[in-house]
Amino acid sequence: MTQIQPMLKPKLSIGAIIARVLLVAILIGFTVMTIYPIIWLIINSFKTSKEFQMNRLGLPIAPTFINYPQAWKIGNFSMLFVNSIFYTGVATLAIVILSLSTSFAFAKIQSKATKPLYNSFVIGILLALESIMVPLFIMSIVTGVYDTRIGILIPYIGLGLPIGVYLGTEFIKSIPDALIESARLEGASYLRIFFSIILPMCIPVAMTLAILTVTSLWNEFMLVNILASRESLKSLPVGILKFSGSLASDYGKQFAALVIGMLPMLIFYLSFRKQIQRGLAAGAVKG
């Protein structure tokens, strides 16, 4: 009769154990560094400014909720929320579709113009927003789109395309040419191929791009501050900046405003964390 030997875990050496403990300690350290500021911010949003100065690290002695309704009312956050959702939603959708369709052309429909056109897109990744702020502002006035929603959306979409085209092109390059050639032989147009073959296969990179775009647009402040004058067109970060800054002094309201601005992103992450993790891993650029 054969005796079944229980599976034994290989015995770890002392060095391996120390390395593992160190690794776990480092990971815990990084986690604390990421999570603690958020918790600290939430805790301190329930303190008055005076209590915050007396007790910066502890729990609130007399928690107050007054900062939230006041910040919401003063900052006019109801309207800013709607605007932020609109800008983020429309621009993300447009960036994903336009980036992937452009990327399809760059990756699979080669011509002499492909390389210079592709480079002209990708060079946009290197542009600092500050360097194009004033020209953008002037262009926006000259074209008559200053202080309009479309005047904010166009630069958002335009500035999101370089990274989108870069990620999309590298991803689509990895799709076998044979698939496209077979479809062409069957008589499918490039538009049909894009929507029926390429787009479904690009879901991982589309997810990555959408995540990157949503997070950056939700927090975008500079452009919307410059390109809009009317309060009714501004977005959440502009409202938050009414409270924060080196000269601001009411920390309670400031922290409440920051929590209000951060909460949607936190909910977004907690709701889609699996997709986000999958998307970021799968959407990584393939060489």
Partner: protein, 437 residues
């Protein structure tokens, strides 16, 4: 998906047309004024600020305000973008110098002297005289003591100390304050302008006087001369004597009032405009220092006698902020009349009284305006009259000259520069500025 793409593209092409049409329509209606205001939403005075603008809208239905309100760096970034694009708002919040220099230097704002002429006698002279840039670019709503020594008399008493009369008295307080774990003088000096504007300007006025600055500007004196070096040396001495802690450089400007209200120091240095931070907020009904405590435990005073001073009890005073008008608005036009109506309203007794009551101002430039609903600190602020008003450095010198002073004041605190070195750097910057102008 295809349809969605087409819809998006079509929208992108059509929406600008609607946007343009929307603007044309607005131009045909009542007079539209584009306004840029500076407002701190965290200050207790913010609710009243809203009320002031709402009242104007209600009283002037023939004027439509395209109102934009920003704060801190967001305001300055936007103003610079407007200036660069040559698309300044019709009416805008402005400083008499400093952060609004671009607007004056590029002639982007109108000289309001002719418009002000009929009502000139209703204001104090500083509000109607051309400023540093030779024009009346904005109507200052107040004059401001940029230096106020906020004293916590209650804490002094608790530690067995009394009100200081001389600088030596402040130095003598250091051991007792240290033993109690508090600072003697707290100044939120992380931003470099604070030390220059709220303390050094007053010190320079006391030791050197305005005559010295006038002489430097006229080429008769240098920043390396003794009065200027002595003034810088006094700032260094404040740190060396422990009257001001070097940790002041780590304190954000916004943190100052709450730290002082929390009894972290015996004294606090800031501008008179900061009184508004301590009084009862109309929003929450809460005060950083409750009125009864303001009355019993606090006092606003000028800095005590400084060794070597020649102007006793003087303090730095500057014309305050106000509203200016876009230079492109045609003289005599309906738009100019509307813009002037708005600026006049913002300088009316009705508005200035409200600003006095909120503590935004300690005094106003319109003669005869007083407020009844004032808390003790506001009353003390209004009564705080220096024996002599002297220049504020960033109000009289160009940014390229006072910039090195601001930095130098911080370097001295860190021990990386001596007063003589800072004086030399300032002189060099001044000579370069003279050549370029």
């Amino acid at each position: 998906m295809k349809r969605l793409l087409f819809v998006l593209l079509a929208l992108a092409m059509v929406l600008p047309v609607f946007a343009a049409a929307e603007k044309d329509q607005a131009a045909e209606g009542p007079i539209t004024l584009r306004v840029l205001n500076y407002a701190d939403a965290t200050t207790p005075a913010y609710a009243v600020e809203k009320e002031i603008w709402d009242t104007f809208r209600a009283q002037n239905p023939d004027i439509v305000l395209e109102y934009e309100e920003l704060f801190d760096e967001a305001f300055h970034t936007k103003t610079e973008a407007y200036a660069a694009a040559g698309r300044l708002p019709d009416v805008m919040f402005m400083w008499p110098s400093g952060r609004s220099s671009t607007l004056y230097n590029r002639n982007l704002v109108k000289d309001l002297t002719p418009l002000m002429a009929p009502v000139k006698n209703e204001f104090v002279p500083i509000a109607t005289s051309p400023g540093q840039f030779g024009i009346l670019g904005q109507i200052p709503q107040s004059t401001t003591n940029t230096h106020v020594l906020y004293a916590n008399l209650g804490l002094l008493k608790k530690l067995g100390l009394s009100e200081p009369k001389t600088y030596a008295d402040l130095v003598a307080m250091v051991p007792a304050a240290r033993a109690a774990g508090v600072e003697v003088v707290l100044i939120p000096a992380k931003s470099d302008w604070v030390m220059q504007s709220c303390l050094f300007s007053m010190v320079l006025g006391r030791i050197a006087g305005d005559e010295f600055i006038n002489d430097v500007l006229a080429g008769k004196a240098n920043f390396t001369d003794k009065p200027f070096v002595d003034s810088l040396a006094f700032i260094k001495r404040l740190y060396d004597d422990g009257v001001i802690s070097r940790t002041a450089l780590q304190i954000d400007y916004g943190e100052g009032p709450a730290l002082f209200a929390s009894e972290k120091s015996l004294f606090y240095i800031d501008g008179a405009w900061r009184v508004g931070e301590f009084i009862t907020s109309p929003d929450s009904g809460v005060a950083l220092i409750p009125p009864a405590k303001q009355q019993s435990d606090f006092k606003l005073m000028n800095f005590p006698v400084i060794p070597g001073e020649k102007n006793a009890n003087s303090s730095s005073v500057i014309a305050g902020t106000g509203f200016g008008m876009n230079a492109n608005i045609e003289a005599g036009s309906a738009k100019e009349a509307a813009a002037w109506r708005l600026i006049s309203y913002l300088n009316s007794a009705e508005v200035l009284k409200k600003r006095l009551e909120t503590g935004a101002f300690s005094n106003v430039t319109r003669i005869g305006v007083t407020a009844s609903k004032m808390e003790p600190l506001q009353v003390m602020n209004a009564q705080l009259a220096p024996a002599k008003a002297t220049y504020v450095v960033d109000g009289i010198l160009d940014a390229s000259v006072y910039g090195p002073i601001n930095i130098g004041l911080q370097e001295m605190a860190l021990g990386t520069a001596t007063p003589e070195q800072v004086a030399q750097t300032t002189q060099k910057a001044f000579e370069e500025w003279e050549i370029s102008n």
